[in-house]
Symmetry: C2
Amino acid sequence: MKKITIGEASRRSGVKVPTIRYYEGIGLLAAPSRSEGNQRSYETADLRRLTFIRHARELGFEVDAIRTLLSLQDEPNQSCASADAIAKARLVEVEQRIRSLTALKAELEMMVEGCGHGRVDQCRVIEVLADHGECMHSHH
Amino acid sequence: MKKITIGEASRRSGVKVPTIRYYEGIGLLAAPSRSEGNQRSYETADLRRLTFIRHARELGFEVDAIRTLLSLQDEPNQSCASADAIAKARLVEVEQRIRSLTALKAELEMMVEGCGHGRVDQCRVIEVLADHGECMHSHH
DNA sequence: CTACATCCTCTAGTGGCTAGAGGTGCAAGA
DNA sequence: TCTTGCACCTCTAGCCACTAGAGGATGTAG
């Protein structure tokens, strides 16, 4: 068994060193064994787990959701309904976020196009922000 | 001059009461005059400013950007180049965010579609997260 | 005059890290 | 062997933009 230092674990998983320690602190990653000099010593299973976490975080899953996904991963006999539900919920969130960002983009484009690059009192950027009536948002 | 309480200012601007006080604390909104009983008393100008802030926050502008936008608004003779630059930067951010969320959505859809609703060891949700090679992300 | 909503200040907590202080361990070169 | 210098350790505090709650004062309707 080769010992993997936290630095190497970081390099190989793409998770920063303080973040690995943070994950240990919040119980997302089990505390590894220590070397004689009290330094953390990881194994390849830990690298897999870290990569899993990093990937899930990149997909925008919250730490609590990841906790659930990890516990599911540990028991392969279980039904994957929970994992499916979590992913679906995340998909709905992402779709909603894309919709609102797209509306936003249109509004920002109107602001930027309308700005005559002159003085502030003719600038649509300020105007659109200041005047509620200009706003395209449906929720107003 | 009718006095506007913080609660009414909140209702009319759409900014929550503690958030208004918070904005005062960080110097985004000037401290208003007070009633005899030490209660904040706003004027219509404050309502306009609060609405401006709320709208800018909804568009995802950071508090620091809003500070700049507000100072521009206060001096209408100035060039609007800064406001334009801020809005453009925000537009670029939003476009980037939409792109990455769209990639994400595709990945989530693949995960959810692939899940056979059986046991975890056949579930693509877990599999995709665990196995780096499955990942579509370009940055890997 | 009494309820009761609203207001006040203050502190602490949220999520998911990140930065820094102040110290120890370890491997390689002189 | 010594020393240089990086990587590691723990701990606390900070980030953003709020939000929650304690504990008390004020204002208003019936």
